[in-house]
Symmetry: C2
Subunit: 557 residues, 2 copies
């Protein structure tokens, strides 16, 4: 795959030549959204073209640019419009509405492309000498402002694009680990591993446009993290170039030699240094996959089933439970532009008859492994799900989900063209708090949208699912769709985000299960970690980066 | 159980009224050891009695003692000989040879017994005001000097015995977690949990004499950690009283809100503060157990079987593979004083016949769970073990091990009475390095013992086992028995320890898999973590304990 920057959208998701394919059902979608959101009209709100974007002046001198070229090479130091805008932000709703309207406080003064740890050591020295901020940039898929160009109190911003450091360095077949450079994209890494019969199994929704280093820096989790582990789990060791030198962690399976520094690197979001290479834990490529669905009449029944499956330690790759609103929305979305058939009406009546009601909750169960291990898991899950009133609905919903699992972010761009806002947020909590947190956050999102949006008679669309689960609790992932404020979408979004984040913290949730902190969640770090926790992290940062060059404004308040 | 200090040995292992029961086979043991070690005689080397011990003067004033009594109460501030000596050291070989000979540089000036986080906050304030070191002390079973009374540059040492903080505060049955005060002993915690149908499942060899807080502070691992997790894994959240205030971590199942502070607390060995309460992950009490043995002709064959079992993610509680030397030693030890029977001779011949040779390696496989889960695991393990040439030898060796799994430390006291030194050390590494590390460390231990011991014609006894395993590697646990130097056993031990620890680090091992760092491994922390890693940890320490009151001399060089 060619990840040259000009092949990728600078103000939207993914490949430049790819959009969400509605297969001619556009008008049906707009009708449906107008009805749901209770608005008369969905205005055309096109993005500002690249050449019209107001671009802040470059704050570094031409002689500094020349010095950078001497350090690297001319083709690895970019100051052109496209590169600077491409690297200004990540891919959050907040980022896109700013990019689409030309609301830019800062963009990188230059974008540099290191090819080695030595390049990075030279860059940190350069940044130290010239008081410049360094922003590590992998795939740039952060949805929390993790790669935003911020100079803080420094003289300018060098965004350091890591994607030329993309080699797999070593596979240890005996220990089932691989060591790779951190700028490698998901598909590049998996292609190499799968050629040798292995997989990392880490497939976040951003898989195609995110990198190994970013996964670890943000403590991400893939859709099949139940089986393959979140980044903090599959991460076995790293080299990190910091402004104070290079840190190497021992890739030991387990150690009692004091605190585990790997858990400081996982989640460090570039504020401690550049992850240059990482060792990760592999799995044999599964020979078999089985994704299928169950319906439950209540979210709690489905969530109890997930809890039991996790507490029995069943080998499962994915458990994804949509609440009634999400289940309904997804089924409506699928049938947009299709005539309500006799068959679908009959299905609805049948659902009612078998007792899951007309607004059931869909649980997708994903199994991966050998046919033998899958059949053991399938039996355990059927036992647990059926005895909790689950209705098995076969492999079709699983297949449907699997086939389109990376596509949704493309749809956002289409919605933004029509004044429709869509954002997601996520948290996690213990099982004993999950129903309460689900309800509270749902209600808060709806309340905040109503408060900060001039809507007609309709309702904002708020839906949620459990996507990552553990013996002691699970994540909750919320999606909300709302009429974008015509005048001040950024203010609208910030107000909603603030109130909902407060509600998450006040009700026992974490500010993020797998998106990270970045600039967007930084105000909730002190409530979550406490003053002392923040003091500990700042002390670590100061020990590695005394001048605060690394990714200012992210992670630490 | 009554853990009053006077019920416990102050200079040996465990209960005052309990010794290793040799069932009248003492003479056989001494004959066997004389022969193995190649020494003419095993001298009587009794321990110095309590009343003869040279006791350093108390360095705090009587008015300070009075102030402490005002803070706590008279019965919770101890300055008597027994309490001071009891709390001077942990339970390592290095500790016991010093205690038995009266080699004491420092002992606590007072021993205090807090009963609440408020008591601990008052004690940290008192220590700050009076420049005193605070040594957190749980069960005192550290074998790495983790609870040694060291004042560093301070005016004296208060050892803070946590064992009155021993309540289970809460069981969250839905999330399968429990929160307890950190000074609770293993048996107290398990008794409470098991009454409610749960277990933590953490059974280190020190189980009877170690505490929840100590397990977490030292990043310990129980004998069944494959199933129940090491302390760093089962640890879900804590409150920590530090000299700068109290740190609470969110007990969230998983979070991307920056680095995971729990992994700074796990392994902190009291240098950041006092763990006052901890939340841990529970399991339903297993309804069934199955421990059984296999023999392999080579260590590598057995170790490959463990690797395969782990990489297939089979649900197994314990995999314990003794090398040929340990297998032989344990079988000899068991048969001491028993006539070599026709049956045992036949067994030996049979072993040879089936192809495992006369010096096989014993793998103990421990399964816990439901009868259904155990039967699934048993089938998988049989398949893997048999196809690798393993000979199943039934449940007897498993039962034997299980019944005596906490007893071995008592034997050390008997050996020390007869001039026989015995110590253990442990490490871990990746599978691709495990054979090399096993051989190298074995050889180094033997070489170092020979170099630093005046032996006759015999050989030191050096043996090892794998006791904790992971998909990417495993631990190696070495036991060595040698004639104790009559004049300078401490010098002898230090020389051996230094050379072997160097060899471990030079050959890719960690300085400890589950014993911790304490004073004994502190010199190998920089080689393992690197200068930057140590700088990070010191920065964290300074942010919480700017005057360095907490457990001086441990963990950080």
């Amino acid at each position: 795959m060619d990840y040259q920057r000009t092949k990728l959208k600078w103000n939207g998701w993914g490949w430049l030549d790819q959009d969400f394919d509605l297969h001619g059902r556009e008008e049906g979608l707009w009708d449906f959204l107008r009805e749901q959101l209770g608005v008369e009209d969905l205005p055309n709100t096109p993005a500002m073209p690249l050449e019209e974007m107001p671009l802040p002046e470059i704050r570094i001198s031409t002689s500094q640019v020349d010095d950078l070229i001497d350090l690297l090479s001319a083709d690895r130091v970019c100051t052109d419009r496209y590169e600077r805008l491409f690297h200004a932000f990540g891919k959050s709703y907040h980022d896109l509405i700013r990019l689409r309207r030309g609301i830019l406080d800062e963009v990188p003064d230059a974008v540099v492309y290191p090819e080695s740890a030595e390049d990075l050591a030279a860059l940190t020295q350069f940044a130290t000498d010239h008081h410049l901020a360094l922003v590590p940039y992998g795939g740039g898929s952060s949805v929390v402002g993790g790669v935003e160009a911020r100079s803080g109190r420094l003289a300018g911003v060098l965004t350091v694009d890591m994607t030329r450091m993309n080699r797999v360095l070593h596979i240890d077949a005996e220990s089932l680990t691989a060591t790779a450079e951190a700028g490698i994209y998901g598909p590049q890494l998996e292609e190499h591993l799968q050629k040798h019969g292995y997989t990392l199994g880490h497939y976040p929704q951003s898989f195609q446009f995110s990198t190994l280093g970013g996964w670890i820096a943000a403590r991400g989790a893939g859709q099949q993290s139940n089986r393959y582990g979140s980044a903090a789990k599959f991460f076995a060791g790293a080299s990190v170039v910091t402004p104070s030198g290079t840190l190497h962690t021992l890739a030991s399976p387990n150690s009692a030699a004091g605190p585990d520094l790997r858990h400081l690197i996982a989640g460090s979001e570039g504020v401690f240094g550049f992850i240059t290479e990482a060792t990760v834990k592999l799995h044999p490529l599964p020979s078999s996959r089985d994704y299928r669905g169950f319906l439950f009449s209540e979210f709690k029944a489905g969530s109890d089933v997930i809890r039991e499956i996790m507490q029995e330690h069943v080998d499962v790759a994915m458990l994804r439970l949509s609440d009634a609103e999400e289940t309904w929305f997804l089924s409506q979305f699928k049938s947009i532009g299709k005539p309500a058939s006799w068959a679908s009406k009959a299905t609805s009546a049948a659902l009612d008859l078998v007792g899951v009601g007309e607004k059931p909750c869909l649980l997708l169960v994903g199994l991966e492994g050998t046919t033998a291990s899958i059949s053991i898991s399938r039996a355990a899950i059927a036992r647990i799900a059926l005895s909790a009133g689950g209705i098995p609905i076969g492999a079709k919903p699983g297949k449907g989900w699997y086939g389109t699992r990376f596509d949704m972010p493309y749809l956002r761009d289409s919605l933004l063209d029509r004044g429709v806002g869509v954002d997601t947020l996520e948290t996690s909590t213990n099982w004993s708090n999950i129903q309460h947190l689900h309800q509270t956050v749902r209600n808060q999102i709806a309340t905040s949208i109503r408060r900060h949006t001039r809507v007609g008679t309709g309702e904002p669309i708020v839906m949620a699912h459990i996507s990552h689960s553990y013996p002691d609790g699970a994540s909750l992932y919320f999606t909300f769709i709302f009429p974008m404020s015509a005048d001040s979408p950024v203010t609208q979004w910030r107000a909603i985000k603030r109130e909902v984040s407060d509600a998450i913290l006040e009700n026992g949730g974490t500010i993020s299960h797998h998106h990270g902190v970045g600039t967007v969640h930084v105000d909730w770090m002190t409530p979550e970690k406490g003053d002392l926790g923040i003091a500990m992290l700042k002390a670590v940062r100061d020990s590695l980066d005394p001048h605060g060059l690394m990714n200012p404004g992210k992670l630490l308040p």
